[in-house]
């Protein structure tokens, strides 16, 4: 048993932390996000420059096998990356493109698909989105409305997809349909005939789109994985994504504690710093205890994803989402509260971290959903 980071992981952590601090300070990111700033961030929701730099550091190719230009990183390496993206409030489309789509292609794709796609994701050239969820359905639904017709007159996709992370900004998109009593995935061009994107800016600055598929032609070659065989890989992909989201949340939580602790040490009221008030001090301790709990939960989920059975991983990811969700809620709310009026302004980093945490807690199943997963295991026992 060993729960310490390897030297390589420590080096990766160090590189990313320095990169974020140097290139993407809060002030810089906030300036970029404003309309009319030099970069096209207000159109894409993220910084293409940062994306390229992440590619250069190697993190976009990190989880992929070396045979496909990757670095063969494990879920534990991803945890290190996500925590740093969280600390830096870097809302680049890592989760959707690298973790979800990259992960699905890596596990289901043919050799040639992996060669082409993983390389172009890893180099930062290509953004690939996953369009699985449908309006009014759960994020992990197994029965889909999106239809596939053919092969007579060719394969044709019709349907609606919701909550596609950075869909409107993507180059290609993985679309799920029911086929042969299971789920199939097709990779289509994001600008293909019949594809319409409805882009939406989320409160945390990320972009999420609705997707309309209207008589979209696909070829058999566009299929990723076997007919109706994508279900288990999708299920695993959401577990991996939730473990990654938990790690991002941990990065945000520890940053909020640092920021707030610093604020309490400098801000004066009634002639003394806020940090001398015991009620606030103990609340900071509660936040700290929650942060350690969130970290343990995330590590447990990540280790299970890396080395456990599918059932173990699913349980641990659900458990982590519950505990990290609780931690995010408590730490987020209290970080704002302890900042007083400053906390609810757009000027302070704390409100931006809070908004991102709020979104993370809702994405891919909220606390209730994941408590249900754990609770149902008890029922089955």
């Amino acid at each position: 048993m060993n729960l310490n980071l390897t030297e390589d992981q420590q080096a990766l952590q160090d590189t990313l932390r320095k990169f974020a601090a140097k290139e993407f300070s809060f002030a810089k990111r906030r300036a970029l996000a404003k309309e009319g700033a030099g970069e096209a961030i207000s159109a894409t929701g993220f910084s293409p420059a940062a994306w390229q730099q992440l590619a250069e550091i190697g993190v976009l190719a990190l989880p992929f096998e070396e045979a496909y230009g990757g670095l063969g990183g494990s879920a534990l390496d991803t945890m290190v990356v996500m925590e740093e993206l969280g600390r830096g409030l870097m809302i680049e489309p890592y989760l959707g493109t690298v973790i979800l789509s990259g992960g699905l292609i890596a596990s289901l794709g043919s050799d040639s698909q992996k060669e082409t796609l993983l390389a172009s994701i890893g180099s930062g050239e290509s953004l690939v989105a996953l369009a699985h969820q449908e309006p009014g359905k759960a994020f992990d639904a197994e029965v889909l409305t999106t239809s596939l017709n053919g092969p007579g007159d060719g394969l044709i996709l019709n349907g609606n997809k919701a909550q596609v992370l950075y869909g409107a900004q993507s180059h290609q998109v993985l679309v799920s349909v029911n086929e042969a009593n299971g789920i199939s995935l097709f990779l289509i061009d994001s600008k293909a005939q019949g594809v319409t994107w409805h882009d939406q800016k989320m409160p945390d600055g990320t972009r999420v789109a609705r997707l309309e598929l209207n008589q979209v032609s696909v070829s058999e070659a566009a299929r990723v994985g076997g007919k109706g065989a994508a279900g288990p890989a999708l299920s695993r992909a959401f577990d991996v994504a939730n473990a990654a989201l938990c790690a991002e949340a941990v990065g945000i939580i520890v940053t909020l504690i640092e920021i707030t602790s610093e604020y309490l040490k400098t801000r004066k009221q009634f002639g003394v710093t806020l940090g001398t008030f015991q009620a606030l001090k103990h609340r900071m301790v509660d936040m700290f205890v929650w942060s350690e709990t969130a970290r343990s939960a995330t590590m447990l989920a990540t280790v299970r994803v890396a080395t456990g059975t599918a059932a173990e991983a699913h349980w641990a990811c659900a458990a982590a989402k519950v505990q990290v969700g609780d931690a995010a809620r408590f730490v987020g709310q209290q970080a704002i509260q302890l900042h007083g009026g400053m906390g609810v302004t757009e000027e302070m980093a704390v409100s931006h971290y809070f908004k991102r945490l709020t979104c993370i807690a809702a994405l891919f199943g909220d606390i209730d959903h994941h408590l249900g997963v754990v609770s149902d295991v008890l029922l089955a026992a």
Partner: protein, 372 residues
């Protein structure tokens, strides 16, 4: 002990309801119900409509142009207004500065300011907080120095809600630095159109503009705008703090929002027992919180002071209201968040901070009730 309204109260409720039915403009009602922003024009228009009916100031005594209603009537009026989708009246003039002017202002000040508050002609804002003196008001540093018939004011106020629309601001300013902090403060009424007044927006985390910084650069204020005595402003401000503030309980607002939540969640909560339990809890907490408010209203009818009740009402009211919004956020958005709902949720985050943070409310209770 009973919860039933008596005949006259029932009749009063019917009268209010009928008035609202006939007089609340449909466009305003629509904006309120869809959570759209209510601008200055609509707020003023509604104040004028109420004032024409003689209901412009439900909490003022009759001789000042108010309704002279008792606490129960005010409670019924507020509840009906909220349920009908009427916009909130601007509190800074009606509820905050007017009682101070009535109690401590000169007859001249009363004649000048009160009618224009009632009619909606003057838009007021509050100049208490300063950068670096949030909960610790007494440490404020905005100075007013006497120069002939004027005070010359320099300094900065912050968190000034809706100052962008304001004609007047009531300020706590430092007029002496000799005494203990609280003893050198005066209560001054300043025309926002005076040379030297600058308003700078503060953008909130939901992207909205409700609050502002207000800067005073050698602003000349006639001495006639000093309320009461120089250096006694702190006691007037404190008078305001213990003045009845049951509105912070957010009871009718919460009930209205719970109806909305139950409508949104109607389908989802059939299958989801966790959501159902959460809504059941909110329903329980709100019904019990309303009972606490009614106890305060009922006791105020029997001339008992509000004590620390306002603090309890504020703590519980804001907590419950935020919980309802959190639950609405949870049931909208389809496994993620709905940006519009999320922004309302973020906007409501201020409730436990503004108007005296809930921590300050706890200090008040510790001191006033528990003697700790």
């Amino acid at each position: 002990m009973n919860l039933d309204f008596d005949e006259s109260e029932v009749a009063f409720r019917a009268e209010v309801r009928e008035f609202l039915d006939k007089n609340l403009p449909a466009d305003i009602q629509q904006k309120v119900r869809s959570h759209a922003e209510i601008g200055k024009a609509d707020t003023v228009r509604w104040q004028q409509i109420l004032n024409q009916r003689g209901w412009g100031a439900s909490m003022w005594p009759k001789q000042a142009g108010g309704t002279g209603w008792n606490a129960t009537q005010r409670y019924i009026f507020e509840e009906e207004c909220v349920f009908a989708g009427a916009p909130a009246q601007l509190p800074f003039g009606l509820v905050m500065v007017a009682p101070v002017i009535m109690a401590f202002g000169s007859p001249e000040q009363q004649r000048t300011f009160l009618p224009k508050i009632l009619s909606g002609e003057d838009w007021w804002c509050q100049g208490y907080s300063e950068p670096g003196s949030g909960s610790d008001l007494a440490s404020l540093r905005t100075r007013a120095e006497r120069d002939g018939d004027h005070y010359v004011v320099n300094g900065q106020k912050t968190w000034t809600t809706l100052a962008q629309h304001a004609d007047w601001i009531f300020c706590l300013v430092r007029t002496s630095s000799d005494a203990r902090q609280q003893d050198g403060i005066s209560f001054l009424l300043i025309n926002m159109h005076s040379p030297g007044v600058t308003v700078r927006p503060i953008i909130m985390m939901d992207g909205g503009h409700e609050i502002n910084d207000v800067f005073f650069d050698n602003v000349r204020v006639p001495v006639g705008n000093l309320v009461g005595e120089e250096n006694k402003g702190w006691s007037y401000a404190k008078f305001l703090l213990v003045h009845e503030r049951t509105g912070l309980a957010l009871v009718p607002q919460g009930k209205r929002l719970l109806v909305e939540l139950k409508a949104i969640a109607a389908e989802a909560m059939k299958a989801d027992h966790r959501l159902r339990d959460r809504i059941a809890r909110i329903e329980i907490e709100l019904a019990v919180h309303e009972m606490t408010l009614l106890r305060v209203v009922s006791a105020s009818g029997s001339k008992r002071g509000p004590g620390a009740e306002a603090a309890i009402l504020k703590i519980r009211g804001t907590e419950i209201f935020q919980t309802i919004y959190e639950t609405i956020l949870q049931v909208t958005g389809g496994a993620y968040v709905d940006p519009a709902v999320a922004n309302r949720f973020f906007n409501m985050r201020k409730l436990t901070i503004f108007g005296g943070s809930n921590e300050i409310q706890k200090n008040i209770i510790a001191q006033m009730v528990l003697g700790l």
